[in-house]
């Protein structure tokens, strides 16, 4: 039976329902406490040990989660535990974990896997650590753009990367997060409002960064990435996504240290409908209604 493609959305919903059922009403969520409540042993791998980011192990009716600590990031470690909880709590993952008599499952990535079970466990982890309505409520008091992502990451004890992805998923305005390294884009998440802007070209993995962007210039100096330096500049939606409108965006850039990648948060400046006033009427008619949902 093919795996349900809607499982990513279902995974977030399952995580949020789990939080609701347990009557957890405050952030941050404690995945270790949840695991212990479920009678799952949680074991930290030695910091000297690289290899897999997490493992779910079963012996008969007893379970354990081992998580990597070689990456000195509270957010990364908590996400790894929450990811394994996803494998434990999501329907159907028994076939993934035990396809041929396995009793151990190992995980390596985060949000970049193409395996639908791994991807759904990632989204479960995001939903568990940043559940709605708690996350959306927190967004109201967190400002905008990179400042909001950093504030929410502190509140949820999640990595900047995972928080930025969740922020873009939940926000109702025109926002994108872009992960890049060197001259290339690793991946990009767009808010629903951004996806509805007509005529845009969606960024693909491996696309080249446009040389006029602040992100491109920032990435030319590897030290700035490693030292977690930051910059910001004015950009336009065309710089990143093409299209017919030259709408202004803020481009906030931060290096992610030893991870070697750069996070960029793009936010539309002002109200897109006001920008439309300067454009021709026919195009305005095809654009404006989509932002009035």
């Amino acid at each position: 039976m093919p795996f349900d493609e809607s499982s990513v959305e279902n995974a977030i919903a399952e995580a949020e329902q789990f939080i609701k059922d347990r009557k957890i009403t405050a952030l941050p969520i404690d995945p270790v406490r949840i695991a212990k409540d479920l009678e799952i042993e949680v074991v930290a791998k030695p910091a000297s040990s690289k290899g897999v980011s997490g493992m779910l192990l079963r012996y008969g009716d007893d379970y354990a989660i081992a998580y990597a600590t070689h990456i000195d990031s509270d957010g990364f470690q908590r996400f790894s535990i929450a990811h394994e909880l996803g494998h434990y709590l999501l329907p159907g993952h028994i076939d993934h974990l035990l396809p041929a008599g396995k009793n151990i499952h190992e995980s390596r990535g985060g949000f970049v896997s193409t395996d639908p079970y791994e991807l759904s466990a990632d989204y479960f982890a995001a939903g568990l650590l940043m559940p709605n309505p708690l996350f959306s409520q927190a967004m109201w008091n967190s400002g905008e753009g990179l400042a909001a992502v950093e504030s929410l990451a502190g509140l949820c004890r999640t990595s900047l990367t995972a928080t930025a992805i969740r922020y873009v998923q939940c926000i109702h305005t025109v926002v994108a997060m872009v992960m890049s390294a060197g001259t290339r884009i690793d991946y990009c998440f767009m808010s629903d409002a951004l996806k509805e802007v007509p005529g845009l070209t969606w960024i693909r993995k491996g696309d080249a960064l446009v040389k006029t962007t602040a992100t491109y210039r920032f990435n030319q100096n590897e030290q700035r990435v490693i030292q977690a330096d930051r910059t910001e500049a004015a950009s336009t939606i065309q710089d990143w996504f093409g299209g017919r409108r030259n709408l202004e965006m803020t481009e906030e850039v931060v290096g992610l240290g030893r991870y070697g990648k750069t996070l960029t948060i793009l936010c539309l400046v002002g109200d897109p409908e006001e920008e439309d006033d300067d454009n021709d009427e026919n195009v305005e008619e095809s654009w404006t209604p989509r932002f009035r949902r």
């Binding site: 690289k50 009716d61 396809p99």
Partner: protein, 118 residues
């Protein structure tokens, strides 16, 4: 067992354990396991796949082992699990394998302790 996927074996094992071994209604089992009665119906018809947590709750409520519900053993109680481990080491580092062995040791000890307490 001829069926290989755990979720294919599970529906008939669940029904067998509930009806023939424990003689429980779907509702009674749901109450014992802390699940909704409709969930039991979906599990037995195969329209919904269980999670590991579901498996564990059902095994506990039915007083059978998870391995029995997965079709890995034919005896209802779980002492035989020590022979069932068949781990896939292919992609793991030696360090991870050693750690997994250590954790399996802890879980094994706990499993035996629980079995002896029953």
């Amino acid at each position: 067992m001829t069926k290989s996927r755990p979720s294919e074996v599970f529906p008939e094992r669940l029904r067998e354990a509930r009806e023939k071994i424990r003689k429980l209604s779907q509702e009674a089992l749901a109450n014992r396991a802390g699940l909704q009665a409709s969930a039991i119906s979906h599990f037995e018809s195969g329209t919904r796949k269980p999670s590991f947590d579901n498996l564990r709750r059902l095994a506990d409520a039915l007083e059978v082992s998870t391995d029995y519900l997965l079709g890995r053993i034919d005896e209802i109680s779980g002492a035989a699990t020590s022979d069932q481990l068949n781990r896939d080491y292919d992609r793991m580092s030696q360090e991870d394998r050693d750690l997994a062995d250590e954790i399996f040791g802890i879980l094994k000890k706990r499993s035996r302790q629980r079995t002896s307490e029953r």
